[in-house]
């Protein structure tokens, strides 16, 4: 099972096993990783599951869709590596993925 590492704004790491086909948001919620709110439950409608994808992994996770890009307008401190974790669906290639959780979810 692909291992996903979340790093919060203080530097604390949470490494958990993800399931292929689930999203990085769902995996965080399931494993009680703090800092991911996911107010809309994964409908790409709220921008409260914002993460920064580690530079080395941006090639694997790809670029946000137009809808996700629109929703990122509602997030705070958006950067080029910003993604909504409900839109990151885990594949085998995600094994080792590192994402950082912002201090605030919009």
């Amino acid at each position: 099972m692909p291992k996903i590492t979340y790093i919060d704004h203080t530097g604390r790491e949470y490494s958990v096993e993800g399931d292929v086909g689930q999203t990085v948001m769902e995996t965080a919620i399931k494993n009680d990783v703090p800092g991911i709110v996911a107010e809309c439950g994964g409908a790409c409608s709220c921008a409260t599951c914002h993460v920064y994808v580690d530079e080395a992994w941006r090639g694997v996770t790809g670029e946000p869709s137009q809808m996700e890009e629109d929703m990122l307008d509602f997030a705070f401190d958006v950067r080029p590596e910003s993604r909504l974790s409900c839109q990151l669906r885990i594949t085998e290639d995600y094994d080792g993925l590192i994402v950082r959780i912002p201090e605030h979810q919009g």
């Binding site: 107010e39 809309c40 409908a43 409608s45 709220c46 921008a47 409260t48 890009e69 629109d70 990122l72 307008d73 509602f74 705070f76 401190d77 958006v78 201090e103 605030h104 919009g106």
Partner: protein, 356 residues
């Protein structure tokens, strides 16, 4: 659906300050609030429905109008929009009156029921109240900028109530949707200066508004700044500038004394917390026989309630509405015996539904 809204507003206006009399007030026009109209209607209980959004559907309308829902019994797949539309169709025979774009601010017990008042000053007198407010009322999101609370209502606004408050001011508007663009175009003529800040040079707003904004920028009458507000600068309740991180990562200050951030909506429990109801972690505990709150005559159904085994599913809310209506009948018609009937066979129910 817009027709219903017009009726509601006209109705409210007609009565002026005198309260609207009704059997039931339903707070929230999401799927569960709408279905409550149906279940109450079958028992001859008339309802007025109040919602903060400008249309029915609640989260189905605001969060996922086009997302498919797969767990509504007998509808293998249905969008939030379609579900709302079908519920509106289903409740039509009961002629509910809708009051959109309003939030119930006050709820107080009277001798024979309750009095409610919305933020628009519309008053209601009802025998029972049904809270079907889901995750709470949709309110503008507050950006997590340090110290922003101190400026709210004096320098920072999430909506424009009085345009005059912005005349001759240095205004900064943040966002890329219709609210941000509409207020940019409306306030620019009366502002001393106006800057629109957006994190990218693409906008979600109507293309026509975006073109008009770009024309104003080209004519030197306002500024478009690509970047994000990272800090507020000011003293007391008076904002003097915002610190912006530009598209190139450089920080700079933009002087302003009015800030309008448009970062979408979030759900807040709001005034419900002040109505004297028992609350548990922002939810309203109810019994599972009547779905009544700690206050007799006030019910809570759908996502806003809590009880052992509660599941936040639309279908659970429908069930809760049906059971709530039984108890509601006892309060609205204390002298009438309630006979359980099926819509398939009862001619009296079929008459109410207008099918015979």
């Amino acid at each position: 659906m817009p027709g219903c809204m017009a009726v509601g507003q006209r109705f409210a206006k007609m009565l002026g300050d005198s309260p609207i009399q009704t059997d039931a007030v339903i707070i929230g026009a999401g799927p569960v609030g709408l279905f409550a109209v149906f279940e109450l209607g079958l028992l001859d209980i008339k309802a007025h429905v109040i919602d903060i959004l400008d249309r029915p559907g609640g989260q189905c309308a605001e969060l996922y109008p086009e997302k498919p829902i797969y767990d509504i019994p007998a509808l293998p797949i249905v969008s939030g929009q379609e579900l709302t539309h079908r519920l509106m169709e289903q409740i039509k025979p009961f002629e509910p009156v809708f009051h959109f774009s309003q939030r119930v601010d006050r709820l107080a017990r009277t001798e024979d029921g309750f009095e409610l008042e919305t933020d628009d000053g519309v008053k209601f007198r009802a025998k029972i109240v049904i809270i079907a407010a889901g995750g709470g009322s949709f309110t503008p999101k507050r950006p997590p900028l340090a110290g922003i609370e101190a400026y709210e209502g004096t320098s920072v606004f999430y909506a424009v109530r009085h345009m005059e408050d912005f005349r001759g001011r240095d205004i900064v508007i943040v966002g890329g949707g219709d609210s941000a663009l509409d207020w940019t175009l409306n306030l620019q003529p009366i502002a001393k200066s106006l800057a629109l800040i957006h994190r990218r040079d693409q906008f979600r707003a109507a293309p026509d508004s975006v073109n008009k904004m770009r024309d104003l920028v080209a004519a030197g009458r306002m500024r478009l700044v690509i970047g994000q507000v990272m800090e507020l600068i000011g003293a007391g309740a008076a904002l003097s500038a915002v610190k912006v991180r530009g598209g190139d990562g450089e920080f700079f200050e933009l002087p302003c004394d009015r800030l309008l951030p448009f970062f979408g909506l979030t759900m807040k429990l709001g005034p419900i917390a002040d109505w004297g109801l028992d609350l548990h972690e922002n939810l309203i505990p109810v019994d599972t026989e009547k779905f009544e709150t700690s206050e007799k005559g006030i019910f809570a159904i759908g996502d806003i309630n809590s009880y052992p085994g509660k599941l936040k599913l639309i279908l659970s809310g429908f069930h809760e509405a049906a059971l709530m209506a039984q108890q509601a009948h006892r309060y609205v018609y204390p002298d009438r015996r309630l006979v359980f009937q099926y819509t398939t066979s009862s001619s009296s129910l079929q008459k109410k539904l207008g099918v015979i």
